[in-house]
């Protein structure tokens, strides 16, 4: 490694300029910079020349034009009269939705399977191993196709829906759930929930202070839970249950009303969660194994009960090992959600880099914007996890 600062003073006679590492480093970097700029300019020049010569429109003006198509799943109202810009937003929200739910599911399944792999129960441990080794060695796209094309085919038509409980229907068009409909007076419940959360936070701060001051423990967790659950329940009863459920009903071809989880969403979500969970399971297993046995033994020597040992000794240390690779799994999940495009789940790549690109033909703007979005989301997730990691990291004293 050349260190520019160290060379000049110690040499008895100055080396020739082409032999001086400092000068060479500068020259080399200038050359690289020039090359990068040159290639950049080349690409820009070629592209603009090509676009102009072939009379292809450019610029982001198209974002305000009406889209003219509809989108099967949208978190915000969207019609074909809305702009391409709004279609972009719909795709972005769908990506965020499936990534967020996928991350939660994958984490839950991954932790369960990871712990199961370490189970003393032979069958459970073996089953977890088979799960991990099977799912992580099969391409995700193949798994998505499987859930979409092969499993969907076995589902019944809407008229013959599977209905385990009244109001819940499963068929080829998706999973239909009752939708909550609010009535006047509903605002009390979120208010009570907010109060409950605030109260729980307050209690836990107070309990910690008291623990530090007097050494007496207070079960702040249960009190907090009671506040968070109890207050809204009390509020709901007081307001006369201002909520009813709108059941999906078979109407013509399809069910209407209620909430529908479309098959594309379900297939991508299931495949994405189960696939990522197989990697998370390995990370969790590795994290737990990384906590040395001495720690557990020391904890029991101190007289800590098993539950407290786990909570106060094993898990905090395991988390430190788990979090960095977990972050990259979350990032992978976000990026992999783009495979939804393959089965028509209307996420960002399908809607924007798919339909919008095709309708407008402006490949450069569309792809560049799509990539920028993923890059930003990735940076946000990794910043968030770095923050969490910094909090959990060992504070060396």
């Amino acid at each position: 490694m050349s260190a520019p600062g160290h060379t000049g003073g110690t040499a008895p006679a100055r080396a020739a300029p082409w032999n001086d590492p400092a000068i060479r480093a500068i020259a080399f970097q200038l050359l690289l910079l020039a090359a990068v700029l040159y290639v950049g300019w080349m690409l820009y020049d070629n592209t603009t020349t090509n676009l102009a010569k072939r009379n292809i429109a450019s610029g982001f003006g198209f974002m305000e034009q009406p889209a003219g198509f509809q989108i099967v799943q949208s978190l915000i109202p969207f019609s074909s009269a809305d702009s391409y810009g709004k279609a972009f937003l719909v795709g972005l929200l769908n990506t965020a939705l499936i990534s967020a739910i996928g991350i939660v599911l994958a984490t839950l399944v991954g932790f369960v399977v990871g712990v199961a792999r370490l189970s003393k129960n032979w069958i459970v441990a073996r089953m977890a191993t088979v799960y991990v080794e099977t799912l992580r060695n099969i391409p995700l796209l193949l798994q998505i196709f499987f859930w979409y094309f092969a499993v969907l085919r076995t589902m019944p038509s809407p008229r013959l829906s599977i209905s385990p409980v009244d109001g819940i229907f499963l068929n080829q068009r998706g999973l239909y759930l009752p939708a909550p409909v609010t009535e006047p007076g509903f605002w009390l419940i979120p208010l009570a929930l907010a109060l409950g959360i605030a109260g729980a936070v307050g209690v836990s701060i107070w309990a910690r202070r008291r623990l530090m001051a007097t050494g007496r423990r207070f079960r702040s967790g249960w009190t907090g839970l009671a506040l968070i659950v109890g207050l809204p329940v009390v509020a709901a009863v007081a307001a006369g249950l201002p909520l009813h459920w709108q059941l999906p009903e078979l109407h013509g071809f399809n069910f209407t009303g209620g909430i529908v989880l479309i098959p594309e969403f379900m297939a991508v979500l299931v495949a994405l969660s189960l696939y990522t969970a197989s990697f998370i399971a390995e990370i969790v297993r590795g994290g737990i194994l990384a906590v040395s046995k001495g720690q557990t033994e020391a904890a029991s020597a101190l007289g800590l009960p098993h539950g407290l040992t786990l909570r106060l000794v094993v898990i905090p240390q395991a988390l430190r090992v788990i979090i960095p690779p977990l972050t990259s799994q979350y990032l992978n999940l976000l990026k992999n959600s783009s495979l939804g495009a393959a089965v028509g789940y209307p996420e960002l790549v399908a809607v924007f880099a798919g339909t919008v690109l095709n309708q407008t033909g402006q490949a450069i703007e569309v792809i560049a914007l799509t990539m920028a979005v993923y890059l930003t989301l990735s940076l946000i997730i990794s910043a968030g996890m770095n923050w969490y990691n910094a909090r959990k990291a060992l504070v060396e004293r």
Binding site: S2, I123, N137, P139, L142, Q143, L339
Partner: protein
């Protein structure tokens, strides 16, 4: 003097029957405590629900004979006839039948070379050299044809496992040198070099492969001067290579960071320049450390090759999917996907085992 007393120990008693034997094993591993017993029962029930139907579908009731759909009529099991009939396409896509010896030759030569390189023989270095330089060139000529009297085969006709392997192997081999350069650049003292490398690596790692593939399939052609264009497979290869290079750079960086500072200083003390130090001292050690990481990158690349199906290249998954859309074989997606899954699984699982073995083997060499 009497005979010295010889201590004869009484033969050890066999352990109590509650501690050995299958019954004891079952008790200790499956039914120690009510929670474990419950788990075992639930697990056994789940296995009972899933395994027998799968075995029945895939093997017992499955159809293997015949050459068309009618062979499978009246059977509830899998219709493997479908795979059998399409076997040629699964391996080669639309590669002309008369020319299929060419991908075969490339594959087996590569495989033989890889196997031959593992044991420590005199020929090892020569073989490795052959695999690194003449082999890819020969493979390229052999697959494309058009010279030496070999009929030309357009890449649009390649498909199946051939394309999957071509993309994965080219991707990993071509991305390796780029990855090494990027990793060195990222650890360089020169600010501009470092920033260029960091920006490239982080941008590529922050976007999904599919957007890189879209870029190479619909944007790259517009970047190039008029009259210059690459064919679709080559463009996909460029995309895959750049994408993998960023990940490869991070793997190599891990290796570089694991080399103790003394090695760098030692190299400098010997008066070696930067490239000499890297080439003779640091990289040989670092690369050896990251071989398992490279194999892991290869596994994920191998799985990611399926994404080229989305931009219309018929890799293994693409060809299976296309085949299950054939009028005569509609409704056999499950068989197609199950088969493709099995093939991918065999490749990936054996490579991951190999990576584990390598890890253990290399680990012992470095334990201090």
């Amino acid at each position: 003097m009497s005979e010295p007393h010889v201590f004869t120990p009484t033969p050890p008693q066999p352990p109590p029957s509650s501690l050995v034997g299958p019954v004891a094993w079952i008790r200790q591993n499956l039914f120690n405590g009510w929670l474990n017993s419950l788990l075992t029962v639930v697990a056994l029930y789940l296995l009972y629900l899933t395994v027998p139907p799968i075995i029945d579908w895939a093997l017992l009731s499955a159809t293997f004979s015949g050459t068309d759909r009618s062979a499978c009529a009246g059977s509830d099991g899998a219709c493997w006839t479908f795979i059998k009939v399409r076997w040629g396409q699964v391996l080669y896509g639309f590669y002309p039948e008369a020319e299929r010896w060419r991908p075969n030759l490339v594959f087996f030569a590569g495989l033989a070379g890889l196997i031959g390189v593992v044991p420590k023989t005199r020929w090892r270095k020569w073989l490795a050299g052959f695999l690194l330089l003449p082999y890819p060139v020969a493979a390229f000529i052999l697959l494309c044809g058009g010279v030496f009297g070999l009929p030309s085969v357009e890449t649009a006709r390649w498909g199946g496992l051939t394309v999957t392997l071509v993309v994965a192997v080219t991707g990993i081999v071509a991305s390796f040198p780029i990855g090494v350069v990027l990793a060195l650049g990222r650890r360089s003292n020169m600010p501009i070099v470092r920033s260029v490398c960091v920006v490239f690596i982080e941008v590529v790692r922050g976007v999904p492969l599919i957007s890189v593939l879209f870029m190479s399939s619909v944007m790259l052609p517009l970047f190039l001067p008029e009259g210059v264009n690459f064919n679709k497979l080559l463009r996909a290869l460029i995309g895959v290579t750049l994408f993998t290079a960023a990940y490869m750079a991070e793997v190599v960086r891990g290796g570089l960071q694991a080399i103790p500072k003394g090695q760098y200083e030692g190299a400098k003390a010997l008066g070696l320049g930067y490239w000499q130090a890297m080439g003779f001292i640091i990289l040989p050690q670092a690369l050896k450390l990251v071989i398992p990481g490279i194999v892991n990158s290869f596994i994920s690349l191998f799985k990611d090759t399926t994404l080229v199906a989305i931009i219309g290249i018929f890799d293994l998954l693409g060809i299976v999917q296309a085949a299950s859309k054939d009028a005569n074989w509609l409704g056999l997606e499950t068989e197609g996907y199950a088969f493709a899954a099995l093939m991918f699984w065999i490749f990936c699982f054996s490579m991951s085992r190999m990576s584990l073995r390598l890890e253990r083997k290399l680990d012992t060499g470095h334990r201090r």
